[in-house]
């Protein structure tokens, strides 16, 4: 059975940090349409701080390295994104303590815990035009595919497709959580920045967790 190693988790985080840097302006543009124009800059600041700690991540078990990622994000990102992404990785670390590799089932548990943490902290449901609109369908796709013993690369490909569909679904929605909700009807016809950064997280997972490094 395919497993995911600690090095692959590091590669995932590193790839995501680079993707955020590349997409920083785009995320900020999305956020200036319906929010306060800081999502790209905040995520970039947080994941650059994570990159600085790359050497510290190496050699650690998955729970320990994800905890460093979580605490770094919590103390550097700020805003809702810092609390939410920090919570995601903190919850993810809580179910991977001491593990140097993860079975697909254990990786699914990581995602499930992360999702539950975000829902609890942010109190958002599907259709509220938040990151949950991309995260929930992606986790659901993994749950189905991994439950059916499909190969990990296929499970992740389906997760990416589900996250992308979820992201697209935010465009016509009226925001009901977060700063965009102040706009009421004016928040419709815009893609949600948080759902966009969540889609990128799955895109990077698919690119790094099924190949050797």
């Amino acid at each position: 059975m395919t497993t995911i190693t600690a090095d692959q988790i590091i590669a995932w985080i590193e790839r995501y940090s680079i993707r955020i840097a590349e997409q920083k302006e785009f995320l900020t543009k999305l956020d200036s349409d319906i929010g306060d124009a800081d999502h790209g800059a905040n995520m970039h600041r947080g994941f650059q701080a994570v990159l600085v700690k790359k050497a510290e991540l190496q050699g650690k078990d998955i729970g320990a390295l994800l905890k460093i990622v979580a605490m770094t994000l919590i103390s550097t990102v700020g805003g809702a994104a810092g609390a939410l992404y920090g919570t995601f990785f903190l919850q993810a670390s809580s179910v991977t303590t001491g593990k140097t590799e993860l079975t697909p089932g254990e990786f699914l548990l990581l995602l499930e815990k992360g999702l539950a943490g975000i829902v609890l902290r942010g109190k958002a449901a599907i259709g509220d035009k938040t990151m949950v609109d991309a995260l929930h369908p992606a986790v659901k796709a993994c749950r189905r595919a991994i439950g059916a013993n499909e190969p990990l690369d296929q499970a992740l490909a389906q997760a990416v497709a589900a996250a992308e569909a979820g992201l697209q679904s935010t465009i016509p929605l009226m925001a009901r959580r977060g700063r965009a909700s102040y706009l009421g009807e004016r928040s419709a016809n815009h893609q949600d920045p948080g759902a966009t950064s969540t889609f990128l997280l799955f895109q990077c997972a698919a690119e790094t967790l099924t190949t050797n490094h």
Binding site: S32, G78, G178
Partner: protein, 333 residues
């Protein structure tokens, strides 16, 4: 867009360094994590009052640290909530043994990060209460929004609750008083121009020369409605009417009238707004017994103004009049 900065990355750091250098007798600035505390913190036997939020609203909150107001302020990046480690460290630094009150403006990020900080502080045995300020009548309060934003009433709550803490009230009393101020305060703002976030470098939104945005927030987030520019008197009426109807404020009420600049609107224009607001209130039989006019909760260089009305009773009036000695507010000392 031209800015008087060295680099966008260093805006907050350099600004709070300057605040600390300017008022060493009033405040101490702590870096990494960043927070500003009263020079004599922690004050033993006094409830600690901590607030915080994104930078770009100066003088709120750092300018309100000092005797009779805040014990600590936690500045985040521009328009971004501070992080839980900042609030946690600030809470520890001002806890004089009677617990700490967090005054939080109702924004998703601020609320979540303050919740995480309170969890951390309570896990260490500290007594922490939090009150969320949500006074902006421009936002519909419903299950389907993040709720009303915290704006002008925040400043009034920090002053009034700070005075009560100085007099030795308990944490529970401070929290109850803060809830009361929030329940009796209402605000609404408008913008003539956008603001420019330093790391973005261009206006957050485009507002044509002949248009204005009514119901704007303090982060450049668009408001309720965009419309053709009107006269100061008409704009004042458009801001004040929803405020009056919301509480509602009635004939015979005593109020504090707070006319605030969003940063770019000069004092000469603020008093034009004040004059009209005072006239409207007087015509409705509402007595303006305290006034507060100036740039106190700003949105970078945005031109525009907000109006806050606070219904006063003897308790709130007395606490408002109590001495305060901070970088941005000073009277009675």
């Amino acid at each position: 867009m031209k800015k008087l900065i060295n680099s966008p990355e260093n805006v907050v750091l350099e600004s709070i360094s300057g605040l600390g250098a300017a008022f060493p007798d009033l405040v101490k600035v702590h870096f990494n994590p960043n927070y500003i505390v009263r020079a004599d913190a922690p004050v033993q036997g006094k409830v600690g009052i901590v607030s915080g939020g994104g930078s770009g609203h100066e003088p709120m909150h750092g300018g309100f640290v000092g005797k009779g107001m805040l014990d600590a302020a936690c500045p985040g990046a521009v328009f971004t909530s501070p992080t839980p480690d900042q609030m946690h460290e600030a809470t520890k630094a001002v806890n004089g043994g009677k617990g700490v009150l967090h005054i939080v403006k109702n924004y998703t990020g601020d609320v979540m990060n303050f919740e995480m900080a309170a969890d951390l502080a309570r896990a260490e045995g500290a007594e922490v209460e939090a009150v969320v300020i949500d006074d902006d009548v421009a936002v519909k309060d419903s299950l389907y929004t993040a709720g009303r934003r915290g704006v002008g009433t925040t400043v009034l709550a920090e002053k009034i609750v700070g005075a009560a803490a100085e007099q030795g009230c308990t944490l529970k009393e401070a929290a109850a008083l803060c809830h009361k101020v929030n329940a009796q305060g209402r605000s609404m703002g408008m913008a003539l121009t956008s603001c420019v976030v330093p790391h973005v470098g261009k206006p957050t939104f485009d507002l044509p020369e002949d248009e204005m945005e009514i119901g704007i927030g303090i982060h450049g987030e668009p408001g309720r409605q965009r419309m053709k520019l009107k006269s100061a008197d008409e704009i004042t009426e458009m801001l004040l009417t929803p405020i009056l109807e919301d509480l509602p404020f009635q004939n015979g009420d005593n109020v504090l009238l707070f006319v605030n600049s969003m940063g770019g609107t000069p004092g000469v224009e603020l008093f034009i707004v004040y004059r009209k607001a005072h006239e409207i209130l007087t015509n409705r039989g509402i007595k303006v017994s305290r006034s507060f006019v100036g740039p106190y909760i700003t949105s970078l260089e945005m031109a525009g103004a907000s109006i806050t009305l606070l219904k006063l009773d003897d308790q709130l009036t007395k606490l408002w009049d109590e001495p305060v000695h901070t970088p941005a507010l000073r009277w009675g000392v």
